[in-house]
Amino acid sequence: MKLFIKFDINTICSLFLKEKLEQLNVDFDTLGFGEIQLKTNVSNEELDTIKKELVPFGFEVVENQKSVLVQKIKDAIIEMVFMDENENNLKSSVYLSEKLNHSYGYLSNVFSEVTYSSIENFIIIQKIERAKQLILIGEMSLTEIAFLLNYSSVAHLSTQFKNTTGITPSAFQRIIKKRRENLK
């Protein structure tokens, strides 16, 4: 006699994970599939045991939570820099910590740890990236670009451009133009 069994993987996994963690005496809440919150602090050794015990059953603790957070930070920065208008008058530190629900200090540490550079530095890179695009589109003067990107003056933008790329905005414009002509 044959029986056909239909099964729901989500239910199985959740139940199984629950059972395993209970066996390991872990007190936890399930925050939707794939994410659990430990209610008590566990030592690194205990965490290692938990990870090891779960592996044979096909569960793996995602190690790169920090990388995930860094990606979120980057996305938020890009969104902030590429937002049109000056809607966003918040300081970037306030903006980021409100958006990502972590203190700026924490975000800043994780970011530096993973990327070896600072959030401030990344914001500058993105602003200069946006300035490059706007320069190449050619519809705005440098003064207008400086204003759009919240620089206090054209000089400030030019200096930061030069510091970040090693070349001036006008040299940049000239080089890309020549390059495009070369390609024709």
Binding site: V114, E129, L136, T165, G166, F172, I176
Partner: protein, 149 residues
């Protein structure tokens, strides 16, 4: 933190310079794997192998025997499967004309060869960190120009 090493290819005919660079790469925080070629011909042969794993950044000395860095640069930019390589030119020249010229030919980075180790380390660190962002943050590589003197 980052497990994947950044793959660097260095084309330089001078052995001392190669060692100098190697030590500098070993000293920075970002993990790198550095390979070498000794002249322009060897570089192009290497890049044109059918099963080549392209480097994340190519460091190219402008003055090399057999085929100069500039010739390699032009050739690379004309070759479809190599066109998108990130290329860092380094040279003893720091004239604005030379720099602009290599950028127009398609180089992304221009480094004035420093005479002391710490400056080299600092420059390389800057290049590699910025390069990481280009890898991981969807920045437009066509607009990637960096000149370090």
């Amino acid at each position: 933190m980052q497990k994947d090493a950044l793959h660097i290819l260095l084309a330089d005919d001078d052995e001392d310079d190669r060692l100098f660079f190697k030590d500098a790469f070993d000293d920075i925080k970002v993990q790198t794997k550095v390979d070498f070629v000794h002249d322009g011909l060897q570089l192009m042969e290497h890049l044109n192998q059918p099963d080549v794993v392209l480097p994340d950044v190519l460091f190219l000395d402008l003055n090399m025997p057999k085929k100069t860095g500039k010739e390699c640069l032009i050739e690379i930019k004309k070759t479809p499967h190599l066109r998108d390589l990130i290329i860092a030119i380094y040279s003893t020249s720091s004239s604005d004309e030379d720099i602009e010229d290599t950028f127009v030919q398609g180089a992304n980075i221009y480094i004035k060869k420093p005479s002391d180790f710490n400056t080299l380390k600092k420059l390389i660190n800057e290049v590699i960190t910025l390069n990481w962002h280009y890898h991981t943050s969807g920045l437009n590589r066509d607009n990637f120009l960096l000149s370090l003197k």
